[in-house]
């Protein structure tokens, strides 16, 4: 076994540290060492996006990064998404109000990806949303309501009323 390495990073505003084998994937460090199990492991092959976290302003598939690579990084996971007073953030509210989830397995990854998308583009078109979440798979919803959930959140963040496009 290779020598363990000491890692420190900031996760959801908290400084965390651990001793890991270099081969430990970031998602395993988050789920097993930090016990933050909201970040899911889906395909393990960089396809499904269920393990997406926000890392230094990027959406990253945490199954395709070693924990040692995240040394010094600032990470946000689904556990850090609620408002400071514990109420749901605009995106979380959007997924709830628009029925943006069924089984919920893809939801943490979807929300983390949508979070970065809306940080980069406050008012995305439907096409930009669909392209923006193209690295996240959902096998339940058919994506319609996920797109609506993100549109709902964008409207709320921009302080305008959300109007569903006519079907």
């Amino acid at each position: 076994m290779a020598k363990k390495v000491h890692v420190t990073m900031t996760v959801n505003g908290q400084q965390v540290e651990g001793l890991v084998e270099p081969r430990t994937l970031l998602v395993h460090f988050i789920r097993e060492n930090l016990q933050l199990t909201g970040t899911h492991i889906g395909c393990e092959t960089t396809h499904c996006g269920a393990c997406t976290v926000d890392l230094d302003g990027m959406s990253v598939k945490s199954c395709t990064m070693f924990a040692v690579q995240a040394e010094g990084a600032n990470i946000l996971t689904i556990e850090g998404m609620a408002n400071p007073d514990g109420t749901l953030s605009a995106l979380q509210e959007g997924f709830r109000m628009m029925h943006g989830l069924q089984c919920g397995f893809c939801t943490p990854g979807m929300i983390m990806r949508a979070h970065r998308l809306l940080q980069e583009n406050r008012n995305p078109t439907e096409e930009q949303i669909r392209f923006g979440i193209s690295g996240n798979l959902c096998r339940c919803t058919g994506y319609q309501n996920i797109v609506k959930a993100i549109q709902y959140a964008a409207a709320k963040m921009n302080g305008v009323e959300f109007k569903e496009a006519a079907e």
């Binding site: 960089t46 990253v60 598939k61 070693f66 040692v68 690295g135």
Partner: protein
């Protein structure tokens, strides 16, 4: 899926990285964005004992203009290429191609250096680099050398890189103002490698093609330069008959594998279609 054990190194200079890579030779791999290497390690198709992470080597990042070339640091991510005004202005085909590479998350991490140096025939950037006449700067323990992209690819995952060497720069001649370009990629879904893809850069003069180069992705063990097809369209107006002949000339050098993307005949046919489409779209953009 857990990768095999390895020792992790994080050098901060090219000199230190090269030293590590030469010390450990075949037992070491350079880690760029990791979006190809880590999945390979999880499948144990790659089992390096030493991983040399290049993320702290600052001199390997960034896009700049040096004379009539754009020089790209290999650790520049696909996302950074998409955000670069200099690339948008000088090499728009690089952005069109980057947008077809995998998905947003992979583009935040995946680097152009990893994409071109890995030697994966499925990667999109190698054929584009051949089309553009890019030059790769390689550094090792001995004096550095420059290798044209057109001479770099030797087989699937085999390149001109020697053990202990690494890619430290990509220099791309800036195509003339008014050039036309297109990257046409057929894929089954977002994130997939190309069933067939073609890159075209051309110039037009008086309604006729003045110069042209064509690259092909995932249609052989290496990326291909379709020289005969490119030669054939020069001096023409890209009429339907010429497009057909160019597609056929390109198909003649393709030798794709039969896989989940389709049988050999289908992939060659699709390759020809991509060539014709890319030629047409490139011409429509030339001015």
């Amino acid at each position: 899926m857990i990768p095999g054990p390895f020792e992790y190194h994080r050098p901060t200079t090219v000199a230190d990285a090269v030293k590590l890579l030469s010390t450990y030779g075949d037992d070491a791999r350079a880690l760029a964005g990791g979006q190809s290497l880590i999945p390979m390690m999880k499948l144990r198709l790659a089992t390096p004992e030493h991983l040399v992470d290049l993320r702290d080597v600052k001199e390997l990042k960034g896009v700049s203009q040096e004379g009539d070339h754009i020089v790209i640091g290999p650790m520049t991510t696909q996302h950074e290429l998409l955000m670069s005004d200099l690339i948008a202005k000088s090499l728009p085909i690089l952005q069109e191609t980057a947008l077809t590479v995998s998905d947003p998350q992979v583009r935040y991490c995946g680097t152009i250096g990893g994409n071109v140096a890995n030697g994966d025939p499925g990667n999109d950037m190698p054929a584009l680099m051949m089309t553009l006449g890019a030059i790769y700067r390689l550094e090792g323990m001995e004096e550095g050398r420059e290798v044209p992209a057109r001479e770099f690819y030797q087989g699937a995952y085999f390149t001109a890189l020697e053990p202990g060497e690494m890619l430290t720069g990509i220099a791309i001649p800036i195509p003339p103002a008014g050039h036309g370009y297109a990257y046409e990629k057929l894929k089954r879904k977002i994130g997939d490698y190309a069933t067939a893809a073609a890159a075209v850069v051309l110039t037009m003069s008086g309604g006729k093609v003045a110069s042209c180069s064509i690259g092909l992705t995932n249609l052989s063990e290496t990326p291909l330069l379709a020289e005969a097809a490119a030669q054939l369209v020069v001096g023409t107006t890209l009429d339907d008959e010429t497009l057909k002949r160019a597609a056929a000339a390109a198909e003649a050098i393709m030798s794709p594998a039969a896989d989940g993307r389709g049988p050999v005949e289908y992939r060659k046919h699709a390759g020809g279609v991509m060539v014709a489409r890319a030629l047409k779209r490139a011409a429509s953009r030339a001015g």
